[in-house]
Subunit: 135 residues, 6 copies
C-alpha cells in the first residue's frame, strides 16, 4: 500500500521494468520491495534514486555491510519504520551478525543520548575540533 | 563554555580526576574535551556516561572505526554540531580516510532522502521485512 | 482511537459543537476528522488551535493549496503519519495533481538530503546569506 | 569553512569548473555558494547533487518559488541553519514577499505544533484518509 | 539579529507596544527578548503567539517551573539553541536549582536513548499500553 | 514482537531474570513490558539501561511524576509511539490527572511551534541568555 498504490512488474512500463531488472540483477534477488513500486509512479525519480543508491551503496572505500549499518543508524534516528525494517533485513543478508546488530543499537542509543546532553549543557566546540581538519 | 562553565583538571575533585585519567588513558591522549568538562558538574552522570561509552565504543563485534562512522551518522542526522566536530575528528584519528569521509556523507544524505520519500509516499512494510527476522 | 477516545458530535458540549460547526462550514464538509475529536477533551486548546489554523491556512499572501504543500512538507520531515495522511488528502481536495504530489515528494527528499550534507561537511554560512536580509 | 575547506573556482579541476559554470549559468549569477565549494571535494557527489537539484527545482508542475518555500519549510523543521539562510535568500530572489515569508513561518510553526499534538494524543488515522487515495 | 532585524520598543507600533507591555507586566521584567522583537514584524502572529504562551504557560494543573522544564526538554530534543538558552534561563529564574538542571539533562539524554533503542529493536506496543486509557 | 522476538520470564537466563525481578520490585508490578523483553537479547545492554533508568528516574531533586512528564515530552517530540504509549500510561499511574495530560500536550505543541519560529526567523541569542549562567 502507498498513496498511489504499488506498480507490480507485470503492470510496469518498459522504462520502469528496466530499472526493476537492474535492481534485481544488482541485488541478486528475484523480487522488488514496496519502496520502488511506490515511487515507480514517478519514473524519473525512480531512475535518479536507484542510480544514486547503486553508486553510493556499491563497492568503495567503505565496505557494503558497513554502509548498511550506517543506513540503519540514520533510519533509526529518523524513526523511519519502513527503512529500519528493510535495511535491517538487508544488513543481515550482507553478513550482520546478531552481535553486531546489538552493538549497533547500543551505539545508536548512546549517540542519541550524548547528542542531547551536549546540546542541553550548551557545550562549545573545542578549538582542536574546529574545521577545517588538517588532513 | 557551557551552562555551568567547564571543570578543568586542576579544579576537579578526586572523583572527577579519576574519570578524566581513565578517559585519557583509554584514548591514549593528554587532554579532555569540553563535553566531559561540562557534565563533570554532575559526577554521577559523568561516571555513568563514560563507563557506557567505554563499554559500547570499545572492541567488540563491530570495529572501533566503524563505530565512529555510525556515531557521526547519528550526529549529522540529529544536527548536533559539537558531536559532528568531535566524532569526525575522532574518526580521522582512528583511520577514516578522506574517501571514507566523503562516502559517509553521501550515504547519510541518501538515507535521509529515501527515509522521507518512503514516508511521504506512505509505503507499507513488505511482509518479508516484518520482524521477527528468521535469524 | 486516541488517549481519551474521540468525542463525537452528538456527545459534544455546546462549546465544542460550535467549533465543530465552524470547522465544517469553513471547510464545506459534513464530517469532523479524528484530530479535532481527540483534542476536544480540552475545549480551550481545541478553540485556540482551530482559530489559529483558520487564520493561518486561510486566504493570504500564499494561496491555500501552496499552504497545504508546505504543511505536508513539514509533516513528512517530522514523520507524522496522521498529518501526512490528512494533509495529503486535503491537498488533493484543494487541487494538487498527481504530478504536483510527485514533485513535492522529490523536493522534500532532496531538501532532507542536502540539509544533512551541509551539516555533515560543517559548511559555514556565506556572508551574503547572513541576516538581516536587505528587503 | 568546512571539514576540508572550500574549493574556489581558480583552484578547481576542469570537471568541477564545468559544474560551477552550469550552476552560475542556470542561476544567472556570478558566484558559487559555500555548499558547492565544500562538496566539490567529492566531484561525483557534486555532479549527482547538482543534477538532481537542477532537475527537481526547475520548471515543472510546481512553480519555482513554491519549490523554494517547500525547501525552507523542510530546512526549518530540520533546524539546518545554513539551508535556512541560503534558501530564504533564494526565495526572496525568486519573488517571495515579506508577507509571504511571515505566512510561511506561521504555517511551519503551526504544522510543527499540530504534528506533535496529534502524536501526543495518539490519534488514529481516519478511514477516509488511508491510502491508496482514489485519484 | 534576525531575518528582518529586531523591532525595538521605541520603534514599535502602538499595537506591538501593547503586547510588549503585557509581556513585561506578566513576566515582571523590564526588557523584551529577541524572539518577540523578531516576530513583531508580523503583529498578528506576535499577538496570537503571546496569547497562547500566556494561556498555556500560566497557572494551571502543572506548576510554572515544571512547565519550563518540559519546554527545555522539547527544545533540547529539537536542538533549538535559542530556545534552550532562553528557557534554561527562564527555568532558573522560576526556581530550578543546579541539581534539578542536572537531573533534567540526564532524563532528556536517557529518554532520547531509549526512544531509539525501542525503535531500532522494532518493539511492538504492549496491549496494556494501547489507547484509549481507562481514565 | 521485535527484531529478535521477546524473551519471556520463563525462558530467560538467571542474569536476565534477576533484572526482570528488580524491575518488577522497583515498579511494584507483576509484569515486564516489551521493551525490556526485546533488549534482553543483549543482557549487558539490558543491565546498563535498567540501572541508568533506575538511577535517573528515581527520587531526586525532581519528583518522579515530573520526570515522567519530561519523558513524555521528549518521546512526543521524537515521535516514538511505543515510548509515548508506555510513558503516558506510566505518568497516569504516578498521578498525572487528565488536566495535567492536556496541559502537557499543549505545552509540547507550543514549544515545538516556537522552536521553529525562532529558527525560521533566524533569531540571535540575547546576550543575557548566553552561558555560562551566573548560578
Amino acid at each position: 500500500m502507498s498513496t498511489f498504490g504499488l506498480i507490480e512488474y507485470q503492470d510496469a512500463s518498459a522504462e520502469v521494468r528496466a530499472i526493476y531488472d537492474d535492481i534485481m540483477a544488482t541485488r541478486k534477488t528475484d523480487w522488488i520491495n514496496n519502496f520502488w513500486k511506490a515511487i515507480a509512479h514517478d519514473p524519473a525519480n525512480l531512475k535518479r534514486t536507484w542510480e544514486s543508491i547503486k553508486a553510493i551503496m556499491g563497492p568503495g572505500a567503505i565496505d557494503p555491510l558497513t554502509k548498511e549499518l550506517i543506513y540503519v543508524a540514520v533510519s533509526v534516528t529518523n524513526n523511519c519504520h519502513y527503512c529500519i525494517a528493510s535495511h535491517t533485513a538487508s544488513a543481515f543478508k550482507k553478513g550482520m551478525t546478531p552481535e553486531m546488530f546489538k552493538e549497533l543499537q547500543a551505539i545508536i542509543g548512546m549517540a542519541n543520548e550524548t547528542n542531547k546532553m551536549v546540546t542541553g549543557y550548551q557545550v562549545e566546540i573545542d578549538e582542536r575540533f574546529r574545521p577545517p581538519l588538517k588532513k
